[in-house]
Symmetry: C2
Subunit: 163 residues, 2 copies
């Protein structure tokens, strides 16, 4: 029995839901990536990294940054190098650990990020404009339930790897 046949049989809804979730993420990421490139000459992973730093004015260690990134497709060290070359972030030695570097937004980086973030917010509102406010509330609730369950499974799967 091939994938298509099985998909239409037993667990049709879960597989279809997973593919639909991925499609939605893909379309929105595509829209945001393209506009960031055309209107701001930057990339989604760079924007994402700056967003994480903006929430942590004290700076973040490289491994904290990696763990917090929301989009894939970028190596954190490489993106940090690019942003440092543009003057948008700086690396600071961590006084408590000589081998660790903290990354921080510069004042210029923070201004650049806030300007992009305001537009990014409008694009996201536009992306979800096909849903009315009560549909948005329902979707938030359903995804919250999904997230809690999936996060605990993902965390447990780390132990599967090491045993």
């Amino acid at each position: 029995m091939d994938l298509e046949t099985r998909t239409h049989a037993e667990h049709a809804d879960e597989l279809r839901l997973w593919l639909r979730l991925l499609s939605c993420s893909q379309h929105i990421e595509q829209l945001v990536s393209r506009r960031l490139r055309v209107q701001h000459g930057t990339t989604l992973p760079r924007f994402d990294l700056m967003a994480q730093l903006e929430r942590h004015p004290e700076g973040l260690l490289m491994r904290e940054l990696s763990a917090r990134m929301m989009v894939s497709g970028g190596n954190v060290t490489g993106i940090t190098d690019q942003l440092e070359a543009r003057g948008d972030v700086q690396r600071l030695a961590d006084p408590s650990d000589r081998r660790a570097w903290r990354v921080q937004l510069t004042a210029q980086g923070r201004r650049a990020f806030l300007a992009m973030a305001a537009e990014h917010e409008e694009w996201i509102v536009e992306a979800f404009a096909g849903l009315n406010p009560s549909e948005i509330k329902s979707l938030l609730k359903l995804l919250s339930k999904l997230k809690t369950h999936a996060a605990s499974l993902a965390a447990n799967s780390m132990e599967e790897t090491t045993t």
Copy 2:
């Protein structure tokens, strides 16, 4: 006004929804990636590429494959090379275009894929097990509406780039 403050103000729900959607995808991708690696010694992009080929027994051109991939983080030519070296796919010259190559699953690749797909299906069912059947139906419906709207915006944004 910083991102956090703005997030809690005007368009709180849309931004929160976008981050939640990304988190859900991330957790499920993480779970599936880890199990594919530990249990089958393969990666999610390889599995995804094989899934696309399984639906197209006649084979796909490289650019068709790129367009159909559901996960990011892999270069299609590189993944095809790896799968060809394992004997799971083959490249065939396209009779209608001498410069184009079609990629096809081999019989061995098809068997390997179907074995993984059966387990993958169980993992996806497990990932969505936090939702009951009626919640799954609602989520399918809401995401379908979101997908239609986001896909048309993403398609239009291609024209923004070229004008």
